[in-house]
């Protein structure tokens, strides 16, 4: 009985996430499509999302930074091309950009990453769902590997510290010193994983089975 209850709860949560995904897509899309006079409604919904996001320990500093950069860039262009009269139009465009961006920000705050992955697996072929979940579980490993290679190459004298990287001339060094060894690792790793998955009869059943955290 207990397990059935748990299972239902699990499905219910995934359904909510799927709904949230659709909701966010529609809301972002509306920011592009909606007429000017219905923007107010959208703005109110987005305001609620921001409040909810902040209540969920979200930080809006990134959002504000993005907003100010967009505002300055667009307004300068409008001012140069159309003069002062159309500045308000430019501001409206930036306002719409924000309305398109806020739902995504909210989604990443309120949904756990692995749940989004689980929901996406409903519509993906199972081989690719496996690839995505393998990549996610390998993230810490990859991060460690890249960091290690990066540190060691700096010790060897590669010009890849953040200070050096401000000069685009040094970017090729980053590719040869860090990315190339990482790619070699990844190639090796994908070969090993593919072999071990095939040895465990991956993709030989018509109905795939999953291992879940008990």
């Amino acid at each position: 009985m207990m397990t059935l209850h748990k299972k239902l709860k699990h499905h219910y949560k995934n359904l909510l996430i799927a709904l949230a995904l659709v909701f966010v897509t529609v809301l972002s899309g509306l920011a592009f499509m909606a007429a000017d006079d219905s923007l107010m409604c959208l703005a109110i919904i987005n305001l609620l999302l921001i409040v909810h996001g902040i209540l969920n320990q979200g930080s809006i500093s990134g959002l504000l930074k993005f907003f100010s950069v967009q505002l300055v860039l667009t307004l300068v262009l409008y001012w140069l091309i159309h003069g002062e009269a159309k500045l308000l139009d430019g501001a409206l465009v930036v306002f719409r950009i924000m309305l398109a961006v806020i739902p995504g920000w909210w989604l990443t705050l309120v949904c756990e990453p692995q749940r989004i992955g689980e929901v996406l697996a409903w519509i993906m072929p199972h081989k690719w769902a496996f690839v995505v979940s393998a990549s996610i579980s390998l993230l810490p490993f990859m991060g460690r590997e890249v960091k290690e290679i990066y540190q060691i190459q700096i010790m060897r004298g590669a010009r890849i510290t953040p200070k050096h990287l401000r000069n685009p001339k040094n970017w090729s060094e980053l590719i040869y010193c860090v990315l190339l060894p990482t790619l070699i690792q990844l190639l090796k790793l994908s070969q090993q994983m593919a072999t071990s998955a095939t040895n465990r009869h991956f993709s030989q059943r018509t109905k795939p089975v999953y291992w879940r955290n008990p």
Binding site: F32, L77, A100, G104, T108, G117, L179, L186, Q191, A194
Partner: protein
């Protein structure tokens, strides 16, 4: 859909890892140079590496799809389903480029041509978005040309670096396919 099913598991995993690496580096490096288009550098590089290693049409689209999904899951950039388009559109354009420029030699130039297809798609996507948002045509076109220029420079840089990397991977005997 069939073409994506037909990748063998090793290639599929490599494409997935490349996409993940792209998304993670993009998220953690945050090259805040204030120039639009620097994201095209990493994107071009990884997409064409995928093509170089797997050597098949469809590899780049698959990589873009996975990158978009990963970015959505990890909440990189501004998150949300729209980011899927951001990764997918250049990828599809590059795959079309692979078909169009299949006979172009040497490899350097073919990769640059393929990459520029992606860059154009990326800039067009920006233009369509801006126009839908109600931006005036003049401002939209100015932004489009600006991003085409800056994005193009980064794209060419990214594509140019792929060939030596592919050669080195071959030297390590890690690539078995040969791009004609």
């Amino acid at each position: 859909m069939k073409i994506f099913e037909s990748f063998n598991l090793k290639d599929a995993l490599f494409i997935g890892f490349c996409a993940t690496l792209l998304v993670v580096i993009k998220g953690s490096l945050r090259l805040k140079l204030g120039i639009s288009g620097h994201s095209m550098f990493l994107m071009t590089f990884f997409y064409i590496i995928c093509f170089g290693v797997v050597g098949r049409v469809g590899a780049i689209t698959a990589c873009g799809m996975i990158a978009g999904v990963m970015a959505m899951i990890l909440g990189i950039g501004k998150g949300g389903p729209l980011i899927l388009l951001k990764f997918l559109m250049p990828a599809v354009a590059m795959d079309i480029g692979v078909l169009l420029f299949a006979a172009l030699t040497p490899l350097h130039w073919r990769f640059v041509a393929i990459a520029l297809c992606g860059c154009i798609a990326w800039a067009v996507k920006g233009l369509i978005g801006d126009l839908l948002l109600g931006m005036s045509l003049e401002v939209g076109l100015t932004k489009f040309l600006m991003s085409l220029l800056t994005g193009g420079i980064f794209t060419v840089m990214g594509a140019w670096l792929v060939v030596p990397v592919i050669h080195r991977l071959k030297a390590h005997d890690l690539i078995s396919v040969k791009i004609k």
